[in-house]
Symmetry: C2
Subunit: 399 residues, 2 copies
């Protein structure tokens, strides 16, 4: 198999851990696989470099910041290549540029435009293990760019696509994707398999395993992703296309504590008013979620939506600048509980079970929104963890 | 003026010092100059990275080592560019590759083959201060290379040549070139000016200010070099072509403590014998200096030479492998005192004054060798510092 592995900052956080990673890579190589490894900076390094830059400027130029930050991954990739060579393997370290990773010029949050896999393929043909500095590429001017948060995952997935890898393994410090946060529900179970869409929903709901950009790219390129821990030998979770499984309807329950609810009352129920509201929020890059508009009565309507808690003040300010006659209420003492599962597409009664379960436990539902594969419910903050546990039980996710 | 400045590791050793460097650069810019800055890694960083590599391997691959080490200068150049921008200047950071510095592929000791100054010139035309990561370039495969010891000085001189700079300022932690080591002779005086050739002699004799490779390149490219301190505003020492000065005959006295003397007795006085001896030393890359061969008597001759003290054992071993009839003696309890001055070309009596001075003070001369601009004398180690002081006095270098 042709495998791309990605090791995050914690996995390469010390020299000793880099050695363990080298042994893990070597083992996969010995099994007869061709291996490309993408590495992050050693944990703490990127933050230290940012601190350095901020010593000089509150707002350092992003071009120079990228050149600065890219040093971290270059160090890790060189060291891992040296460690592999010392174990007797042919290995070569590549920067993002040498790996052929071309991006646009939006420094610190560049998008991958193209990967020219020539150098990687040449090295693989030469039986080398290719170790690539993640998180970085080069733009058309030859300037180093970085890909933003989760950038190394993105490098790995894009490279897997470019070289048509059979598998892309993302190593972190957690075992995989769980039915819910094990700190809330000890009976949470690691999932063997999950679809891209389910993972996207769970990630956007706060599951920290993978950034959405990487999962979206894996879906687009149809890359089999595995997320697993670099600290044990446990199987991870395979993230893949539509799964053929019977029985499993719900994959997981997510809890998002960082939401606030906004309700706008007495909005004129005529075309363009809602548009005006959401346009001003969108120009300020506020991430509006769960929009609910009731059918109007007496020519006025209520509009409810949620925003991230730390964007609430900005939201209220933006709304107060609209000299309209509506009134605005907000509540940040709420949480969003979401039930995610590809199976709910073809099963009825899923939502009903959630509502019944919450009602039976005296938890009032403030807002509901649904998609094809998730149901999200806003409840008072203090009920969040209880809601997760009783829903986890109701859908028998521990099984 | 178009000025290239180079700041060594101590000068950029902390974030605070990088800020001081930024202010110094800014001042030169305000005076109406165009400025290119070449920086080393922050002091200690390169050694730390080497330690990292050696954690994995006693003999890490030089290609990966270069990629690793090059990170240090990239960090400093990014930070200095950010600091300059914060002071309100247009600045841009370039890696060695971006500065157009192309080398051969001898990793960790690459030679500069070519500098394509296009990017630097474009940035200068745009009124930018160009900050370049020293010590590094890129070979024809696109792999990062480093230039070895003193590599950042070499980057600066080569770039000064490529962009036809008026001046190349090398900032270190010393004020310039002195008539002798001030720790030996407190009356040692900083020189305003010195020729390339004198500097070459002094550098090879242990003056630590500049590596010979940089001075040789400056001579070849006819670059005016200034070496000065980044910690004060003192004028430094200008290193330039033939100086037009009256009076000053001798520029300095150097003391080299790291020499050992080897004497080979009873060498057959026929062609090829000396060649055989020095060939075996040269194949082992032993740095032989001060070769003296007396005219033979009775068909045998004596050959004396000096080698660096830490290469003495290797030298003796190499000679013992030559199954010849000669006998070898060695003495590492010696030092080399050298008198350097372009003026001695056209003045007689210089050597005689040295010999008289030493004799008057009871110092026995073991070996002598001379070039057009230097006289080197081997004396017993314990007399080294005394010899420096009395020669400094005799040639009135304190004036």
């Amino acid at each position: 198999m042709l495998i791309v592995q990605k090791y995050g900052g914690t996995s390469v956080g010390t020299l000793e851990r880099i050695n363990l990673v080298a042994k893990r890579v070597a083992k996969r190589k010995d099994e007869g696989n061709a291996i490309v490894v993408v590495v992050s900076a050693m944990s703490g390094v990127t933050n230290k470099l940012i601190d350095y830059a901020e010593f000089f400027s509150k707002n350092p130029s992003s071009r120079e910041l990228d050149m600065l930050l890219s040093a971290g991954e270059r160090v890790t990739s060189s060291l891992l290549a040296i460690a592999l060579q010392e174990l007797g393997y042919k290995a070569v370290a590549f920067s993002g540029r040498q790996a052929g990773l071309k991006t646009d010029s939006f420094h610190t949050k560049a998008k991958i435009e193209l990967i020219d896999p020539t150098s990687i393929n040449e090295a693989l043909n030469d039986d080398k293990i290719v170790v690539i500095a993640g998180f970085q590429g080069v733009d058309k001017n030859g300037d180093v760019t970085t890909l933003g948060r989760g950038g190394s995952d993105l490098s790995a997935v894009a490279i897997a696509g470019a070289i048509k890898a059979d598998l892309c393994e993302i190593y972190t410090d957690v075992d995989g994707v769980y039915t819910t946060d094990p700190r809330i529900e000890p009976r949470a179970r690691k999932l063997d398999k999950i679809t891209y869409d389910e993972m996207l929903e769970l990630a956007s709901l706060g599951a920290k395993v993978l950034q959405n950009r990487s999962v979206e790219l894996a879906k687009k390129l149809n890359i089999n992703l595995v997320t697993r821990s670099s600290f044990n030998e446990n199987d991870g979770t395979l993230i893949t296309g539509e799964k053929k499984m019977e029985g499993a309807i719900i994959s997981g329950i997510a809890l998002d504590r960082n939401q606030a609810r906004v309700t706008i009352r007495n909005v004129d129920d005529k075309p363009g008013v809602a548009a005006k509201i959401f346009k001003i929020l969108s120009t300020q890059e506020i991430n509006v979620d769960m929009i609910i508009q009731n059918i109007g009565t007496d020519g006025v309507a209520n509009i409810g939506f949620t925003v991230p808690e730390n964007e609430l003040n900005q939201t209220l300010k933006a709304l107060s600048n609209l000299d309209d006659s509506f009134s605005v209420e907000s509540d940040s003492n709420i949480v969003k509980v979401s039930i995610v599962g590809i199976g709910m597409k073809s099963h009825s009664g899923i939502a009903a079970l959630a509502f019944e379960t919450l009602a039976k436990n005296g938890i009032n539902i403030q807002m509901i929104s649904t998609s094809e594969i998730r149901i999200s419910i806003i409840v008072e903050a203090k009920y969040g963890e209880l809601a997760v546990r009783i829903l986890h039980e109701a859908y028998e996710l521990y099984k």
